[in-house]
């Protein structure tokens, strides 16, 4: 009863029968309008001439909207920076930017009409790459620096000094359900919006500003998303805003479901990075100091780039004590789509930087990379302070690494691979272990809050709402388990309904892996409040102390009296006891000073490690993941099956980022990979052939989180850095493990072959 175990996803049955309803599956109201955006085809240009007459007069068209139709503020920027217009005005700043939107009686009519627009551009100089942005000093905000100790001095006096450069590509979210929203008019011009968003409160807030209305006029609901991964944290607002604007103008319901190509052109992605490092270390490979320069392509606006790039800095240590460190970060404005949140939120890019340094040190010293990694791990006092000043007090990386290396026979296999490669064939293998230490909490401290609203009906059934959104991660399943455990009733008695701004206000995005930590705690508090009222009532009825009331097996025992849970609820209702409560939670003990980049931004860390083995063909650069072993820490798991799913799924998604998924922008700054025919996320055969995933059994959160569990959404993605390191290892065999391959991510066949060729050419006398 209410045990924390492998319960299937609450919607699993509906998923497999096709009954689960996504936005575009909702019944069509008779006067529903369908929307199609008209997009910029230029990266940076003045809108010289625009004639939409033919669009307006096309069959089925009801209205065509542009910037001048907005009654309030033409902006959907998430942090109020005012640089994310709903419609371009005067000029476009990226290819894919919305210029106008057609609303028509059918989607076919809207799409046909949108092709009839006559737009002339006057091209302006476009900055589309990090290199161009650096040359132009096109920073979105001043360079940020995070420092610990005296890095420059440490580098000057280090026994060994290396430096290098790494390019890391971006990533499209490729949620299977593209961005979607529907707006329905209510009385007094009120609007009810169903949005596929991770952040309903922000959608509500931005639409209110767009229309110049108070927030209470706007209601946003989210039943489920067909995947989010960060891509629906801020990016959903634009689509929802367009539907709201059309409904506001026409009084008719409006639905917008993006075509896949439009979605990929219009919406932001993972930031691509360029990383420069200088590292000083001793003969064991232990860092004495490091200087890291991170640069990212943020695209045309701020969006969440400040926090994302901050998180890259926070994770440039990964699980290692950097000793003396200067971490600098530049955030570049470019004429490309504004990059945004994506699972890991900058963490992966920071982490891959330091893992590259570990590989570089190992090759330089001729050591097994695992020895270099172990030599640098956070450890006892004196080696437990992060570059932002937080003490690592829950470090279990050393145990996890040792346990995994043993169970996966790392040493034996590394030796076997060395022998295999020594035959100098055209197939080479590589192996690598990389750890993960990921900080849990929004680094923008005030976001770490959540609310829940619980009703217990007189028949004993429980209705719960919380501020989190369900995007497949199993949040509602876990929260129902938490509530069932609190009341000791069957999970089937609990219904969690669509997230709704009218039920729980001012919510934070379901992001930063925090969904269960925050909302689970809020739900538990709501349940606890009602439970205490019931207990007090039961104690009074039984004439016993409140402490003697026991909730067990769908029953409540008080002294000699015993009720079925539903009977007690009924009796409490008749006795006029409130059976409704809110719950609220704010993460304690965290603070952060962004000006100095110091503080305790994280409540705790989640840990894990992975060993990947790969094979490459050195004539073509093709690669294949042969085997992966993972040991990951989720604390006390609330639902091991769901957690396992997050780990397996996160890993494969991360492996895609570093291997097959390549965003190709042409020299005009136009994305050329905007559909699955050209943008290749992992397919079934790309999952590791042997894939051993285990939860760290001794895992327990030392902090007082919900049932001592740990967040699991993002951390596993970064386990896939082991794939990139393993490919690096395989390529290094071509240079007899003497030189760091000039391999950049994603490691496509072309990238791998280029690195091999460079080694072969360099190796020539």
């Amino acid at each position: 009863m209410g045990n924390l175990q492998d319960i299937p996803h609450e919607s699993a049955r509906k998923h497999v029968t096709g009954e689960a309803v996504y936005i575009d599956d909702m019944p069509c109201l008779p006067d529903l309008l369908h929307l199609q955006p008209g997009l910029s085809t230029r990266a940076h240009a003045r809108l010289k001439y625009m004639n939409l007459d033919a669009v307006r007069s096309a069959p089925g068209v009801v209205c065509v909207l542009t910037a001048k139709d907005i009654p309030g503020r033409n902006d959907v920027s998430p942090t109020g920076t005012g640089d994310d217009p709903v419609f371009a005005e005067g000029k476009v700043v990226y290819a894919g930017q919305v210029i106008f939107t057609v609303a028509a009686s059918s989607l076919a009519a809207a799409r046909h009409a949108a092709t009839l627009a006559k737009i002339e551009y006057k091209d302006l100089p476009a900055i589309t790459t990090i290199t161009q942005a650096r040359a132009a000093n096109a920073d979105l905000e001043p360079e940020q620096t995070m420092s610990m100790g005296a890095a420059e001095a440490a580098l000057r006096t280090a026994s060994h000094l290396i430096e290098g450069h790494l390019k890391v590509g971006g990533q499209d979210h490729f949620y299977l359900e593209s961005q979607a929203a529907e707006c329905v008019p209510g009385e007094d011009g009120d609007l009810r919006i169903a949005s596929s968003t991770q952040h309903p409160s922000e959608v509500q807030h931005l639409i209110a500003l767009l229309l110049g209305r108070p927030s209470h006029d706007i209601q946003v609901q989210v039943r489920r998303m067909g995947g989010g991964f960060g891509g629906k944290e801020t990016q959903a607002a634009l689509i929802a805003a367009l539907t709201a604007l059309v409904t506001h103008k026409t009084g008719r319901p409006a639905r917008m479901v993006l075509d896949r190509d439009d979605d990929m052109l219009m919406t932001g992605k993972r930031h691509d990075f360029e990383i420069d490092y200088k590292a000083g270390f001793d003969d064991t490979g232990r860092l004495s100091g490091i200087s890291l320069d991170l640069a990212s392509r943020c695209g045309c606006s701020m969006d969440l780039s400040a926090a994302i790039n901050d998180r890259a800095m926070f994770h440039a240590d990964n699980a290692y004590f950097l000793n003396n460190a200067d971490i600098r970060s530049r955030r570049f404005r470019t004429n490309t789509v504004s990059n945004t949140a994506f699972r890991g939120f900058g963490g992966p890019q920071g982490m891959i930087a330091i893992e590259r340094v570990m590989d570089a040190i190992a090759l330089y010293l001729g050591k097994d990379p695992i020895m270099v990694r172990k030599a640098n791990l956070y450890n006892a006092a004196g080696r437990d302070i992060t570059p932002y000043g937080q003490r690592v007090s829950d470090n279990i990386a050393p145990e996890i690494i040792d346990e995994l290396a043993t169970s996966a026979q790392y040493t034996t296999r590394r030796k076997a691979i060395g022998e295999y490669n020594a035959n100098a064939g055209y197939m080479r293998r590589g192996i690598a272990l990389t750890p993960v230490k990921f900080g849990i909490s929004f680094t923008t401290t005030f976001l770490n809050q959540a609310g829940a609203l619980m009703h217990v009906y007189a028949d004993g059934s429980v209705h719960l709402n919380h501020g989190g959104t369900e995007m497949g991660q199993g949040l509602n399943t876990k929260i129902a388990q938490i509530v069932a455990k609190e009341f000791q009733i069957d999970q089937s008695a609990i219904k969690i309904t669509a997230t709704d701004t009218a039920k729980v206000p001012n919510t934070s995005a379901t992001a930063a892996s925090s969904g269960t930590d925050l909302n689970g705690m809020a739900a538990q508090k709501a349940a606890h409040t009602i439970k205490m009222r019931l207990a007090r009532f039961a104690a009074k009825e039984a004439g016993c102390a409140i402490g003697a009331v026991i909730f067990e097996n769908s029953h409540v025992q008080a002294g000699s009296k015993k009720w079925a849970f539903s009977e007690l609820v009924k009796a409490a209702y008749v006795a006029r006891i409130s059976l409704s409560s809110t719950g609220f939670y704010a993460t304690p003990d965290i603070h952060y000073d962004r000006a100095s980049h110091t503080g305790n931004p994280f409540y705790y860390y989640a840990y894990g490690a992975a060993i990947s083995e790969v094979e490459i063909d050195i004539l073509t650069g093709e690669s294949k993941i042969l085997r992966v072993d993972i040991l990951h820490d989720v604390g006390h798991s609330i639902n091991p099956a769901i957690d396992l799913g997050q780990i397996e799924g996160g890993f494969v998604q991360g492996a895609g980022w570093l291997t097959t998924e390549e965003l190709v922008f042409d020299d005009q700054g136009i994305l050329r990979t905007h559909a699955p025919s050209t943008y290749k996320i992992p397919a079934c055969a790309d999952r590791p052939k042997t894939f051993n995933v285990a939860l760290y059994e001794r895992g327990e959160n030392i902090k007082d989180t919900i049932h001592k569990s740990k967040a699991v959404g993002e951390p596993p993605l970064m386990l896939a850095i082991s794939v990139f390191s393993a490919i690096t290892d395989a390529v290094a065999s071509v240079g007899d493990y003497k030189t760091l391959p000039d391999l950049h991510a994603p490691a496509t066949p072309e990238a791998i072959l280029r690195a091999i060729t460079a080694l072969q050419n360099g190796a020539k006398p």
């Binding site: 299937p8 996803h9 919607s11 699993a12 049955r13 509906k14 497999v16 029968t17 096709g18 009954e19 689960a20 575009d24 599956d25 019944p27 069959p59 009519a109 046909h112 490729f174 299977l176 359900e177 593209s178 489920r224 998303m225 067909g226 995947g227 896949r260 064939g425 055209y426 197939m427 497949g472 094979e615 004539l619 073509t620 093709e622 690669s623 294949k624 099956a641 397996e648 799924g649 996160g650 494969v652 998604q653 559909a675 699955p676 025919s677 050209t678 290749k680 996320i681 992992p682 079934c684 055969a685 790309d686 999952r687 995933v693 496509t748 066949p749 072309e750 072959l753 280029r754 060729t757």
Partner: protein
């Protein structure tokens, strides 16, 4: 002639009179039938969220998965359609569905109906449950949440659940030619659609409408409609032609009717040479191979189609037909330049004739793409060499992705013909190969990579034969 299509949908007979010829099955299901379980993820036949199962008694096996997003409704004429809504019986889940629930095979659930249907086809056809087979079955279904592992666990367990009564298939009936005609409400274009029933009808019809587009599976043409908003005036669907899927072994080689799907040619080509089987296996996905045709792959004229390079290397010919007249043409001569083929107005490909490879010859095929399965080639190389006393007496090398058309590497061939089979001569030919092509850079690969990889493939061909332990293909799957 008739203007009404009929089929069964989840067991119930349905008739649709004179539908819009390019209305997709997906839009019809979702909008007209309000069967919204089938999803749109990409509308280009790549993600598999729209997978449904089709039954056709004239085909083996009878039940197969296709992408509903790029299938035009009239193409389903005479068939049985099963969607995700049609599996459960009286509230009892189908074993495939039950297995996915109990093995945690869904997270966000959006791709799930597509996986259910791909696995359902596999289940009905009693497909093997090993990793390689399942990878193949599911290569056309993308999941972004699970990393596939729980889905595979479910697939392997699906036969452990009690089976469920299945829809039966009515035998295919003789039909008259289907002829649809309507005016497109958005553009006022007159749209026609014909599905002739035999080759003579087809030849006559095509002479009558020489500007018609021949619909041979539609795995590319579907995208013209869904992605380019194209309004197609006249379509001639060859999907219902009797005898247009035949594969016959004759003296001069394998005669493959142009309407044979990749699925249908797979086994015959595998028998001809395992490498041919493998290239078909890697072409598209199960859903695409069930729909796309060998004739379509060739007639389309794409420089990156995967069938032409191996077929050119083997010296294949086309049988072209116009009215009653037929002619034979070497496949390599069919491709003239980008977008232009040696095909007259009203002329169509009737068959491809693939000669049996000389058993003494060496033959290898390599396809390079960013993703191993279900990706379009950056380049595809086909190598055929006959050696006598270690001397190269016949050599044919053909590439896709290296030029505007699939083409032979004549300079490399010349560098090798008559030479001894050794690494020095191969390396000289690799240099010569550099003069054969000026490939382009695009989103799939740069010109430099294509050039270097093409040359290395020749080395792989050499090494692969003499030292298989060295240049063995990466073991995928």
């Amino acid at each position: 002639m008739r203007d009404t299509i009929s089929f069964t949908l989840n067991g119930k007979p349905v008739e649709v009179r004179n539908p819009d010829p390019t209305l997709t099955l997906l839009n019809w299901l979702r909008r007209e039938c309000v069967l919204t379980g089938t999803k749109e993820g990409c509308a280009e036949g790549d993600c598999g969220a729209c997978t449904i199962v089709v039954g056709d008694s004239s085909r083996a096996p009878h039940w197969y998965a296709i992408n509903a997003c790029i299938a035009f409704l009239p193409m389903l004429d005479g068939k049985a359609i099963i969607t995700v809504e049609g599996l459960a019986r009286n509230g009892a889940l189908h074993p495939v569905q039950k297995a996915l629930v109990e093995h945690h095979g869904s997270q966000c659930g959006f791709c799930t109906p597509g996986f259910v249907m791909s696995l359902y086809a596999h289940y009905r056809n009693n497909g093997a449950l090993d990793d390689a087979t399942l990878n193949d079955t599911l290569a056309g279904n993308l999941c972004r949440c699970t990393g596939y592992a729980p889905i595979i666990r479910a697939a392997k367990a699906m036969r452990d659940y009690p089976t469920i009564e299945e829809t039966l298939l009515a035998p295919r009936q003789e039909r008259k030619m289907l002829a649809l005609c309507m005016t497109d409400p958005l553009t006022n274009t007159i749209k026609r659609y014909f599905a002739p029933q035999n080759l003579d009808e087809m030849a006559t019809l095509y002479l009558q409408y020489p500007d018609a587009i021949i619909l041979a599976g539609g795995t590319d043409i579907g995208l013209w409609v869904t992605k380019k908003n194209a309004v197609l005036e006249t379509l001639i669907d060859i999907g219902q032609l009797n005898g247009f899927k035949e594969i016959i072994q004759r003296q001069d080689g394998l005669h493959i009717s142009a309407g044979a799907s990749y699925h249908e040619v797979h086994e015959a080509l595998f028998d001809l040479h395992p490498a041919l089987g493998e290239i078909v296996r890697r072409l598209g996905s199960t859903q695409i191979r069930n729909t796309g045709t060998i004739g379509g792959n060739i007639a389309n004229g794409s420089p990156i189609g995967d069938m032409p390079p191996p077929l050119i290397a083997l010296g294949s010919e086309l049988l072209l037909r116009k009215g009653d007249a037929t002619r034979r043409l070497a496949l390599e001569d069919f491709f003239i330049e980008y977008g232009k083929q040696d095909r007259q107005k009203g002329e169509f490909i009737e068959a491809v004739i693939v000669p049996k490879p000389d058993p003494a010859a060496r033959f290898a095929l390599y396809k390079i793409s960013k993703r191993f399965d279900q990706d379009i080639s950056a380049l595809c190389g086909a190598f055929y060499a006959r050696l006598d006393n270690n001397q190269i007496t016949n050599i044919r090398i053909a590439f896709g992705g290296m030029a505007a058309i699939p083409a032979r590497a004549k300079a490399a061939e010349a560098a090798l013909l008559g030479k001894d089979w050794n690494e020095a001569n191969i390396r000289a030919a690799m240099k010569a190969l550099g003069d054969d092509f000026t490939p382009m850079s695009d989103m799939r690969a740069s010109a430099d990579y294509r050039q270097q990889a093409a040359q290395n493939l020749l080395l792989k061909f050499y090494l692969g034969q003499d030292a298989p332990y060295l240049a063995k293909e990466v073991q995928h799957g």
